[in-house]
Symmetry: C2
Amino acid sequence: MTTQATDSRLLDVAIEHFSRFGIDGASTRAIAKDADTPMSSITYHFGGKEGLYLAAAERIAERMGELLGPAVAAAMRACQPGCTRAQAREALQLVLGHATSALVGADTAAMARFIVREQAEPTEAFTRIYDRLMAPMLERLSFLLRIVAGERISDLEARIRAVALFGQVLVFRVARETARRAAGWKVIGAAETEAIKTIVADHLDAVLDRLARGKRATT
Amino acid sequence: MTTQATDSRLLDVAIEHFSRFGIDGASTRAIAKDADTPMSSITYHFGGKEGLYLAAAERIAERMGELLGPAVAAAMRACQPGCTRAQAREALQLVLGHATSALVGADTAAMARFIVREQAEPTEAFTRIYDRLMAPMLERLSFLLRIVAGERISDLEARIRAVALFGQVLVFRVARETARRAAGWKVIGAAETEAIKTIVADHLDAVLDRLARGKRATT
DNA sequence: GTCTATAGTCGGATAGAC
DNA sequence: GTCTATCCGACTATAGAC
């Protein structure tokens, strides 16, 4: 096992620190120390604290993209414009299922913390993450929802529904501690993730049933 | 309109700053300045930064409790053990609807941000907020879900479903900026909150339909 | 590319006048 | 209770040796 390059080590440690303490709370000294390199190497490699922060956001977008991208791509293949409702439903399950695995199952804790922080006080980093990660997935989800609903719902409504459905997955990452306590689990491992996936899929199916039947509250 | 007491002004400003920058990122100097009082009054009234933080958490638990408590209490009255499914469904809509108003509504923005931050990096304040706010609500939600399902689902399954449903609300707070952009809104104000409430209620109704009918995926 | 030394800034705490 | 003045530690940035 070769030692990781300095800039790569710095990024990993930076994601951990920034996600935990924020850009102000984190200290370049502490980051450099944990990465086992002098503080000035941050200046050398990234130009300073700000540059390190943005580079960390970039890496997060990249890694999360690797986790979520295949699911979105598969959904694209499974359902082109004009595909059947059944195909659209299958594609929706595919996307949300993969999102659950990526967000709840994989070790994405630090990255998720980082993103949540950006939402509270968005910086330039947020735009990069949003454009690369969130927008394509929500775009895809709302597109598919409209197909299932037979175009009976507006684009706006589909988008709100997509965000809400995504929230069912997100909550198990963002409020992981709350979820763990509420369910009485010791840890949220592979078995627990499967249980979550089943229930999220069931909820999605229930909503799709309703959309397909056309029965819905006024909006 | 009488001028607010110094300690009360400090708490309001502190919630705003802590929620935005975290306990490390926030500056007592800036807080004191915004509250129009010398920094040393923080020491006088709260003993220091740490004391101010915990007092802010306390005030948040109190205020959010005032907002959510009545809904949970009303749900308790509306549906005692052995009540009808219809009553349980009504109570569920009541609780989730109030939670949406409380979490998504603009006037609770700072408090909600504060709580979300505590989830990512729990301090002593988290336990207080969890026990007082989250636990009772999730407890109530899962209890009601089991009544709607006619006891056909396990306690654990009900709890997971409760968390997932709560996630649909939470996402509009936690990922507020993502939701705003995805929906193409300029701000998430009163009208937008209403649209969210309608859709969350509709999703809940769809899930309850399915639970009541007994059709569901294997768990 | 890597590291040391240092300059300059800003933070929280506190003493003490009023 | 309120405010000023000050201390000291921690921070980022940078110059310059190797």
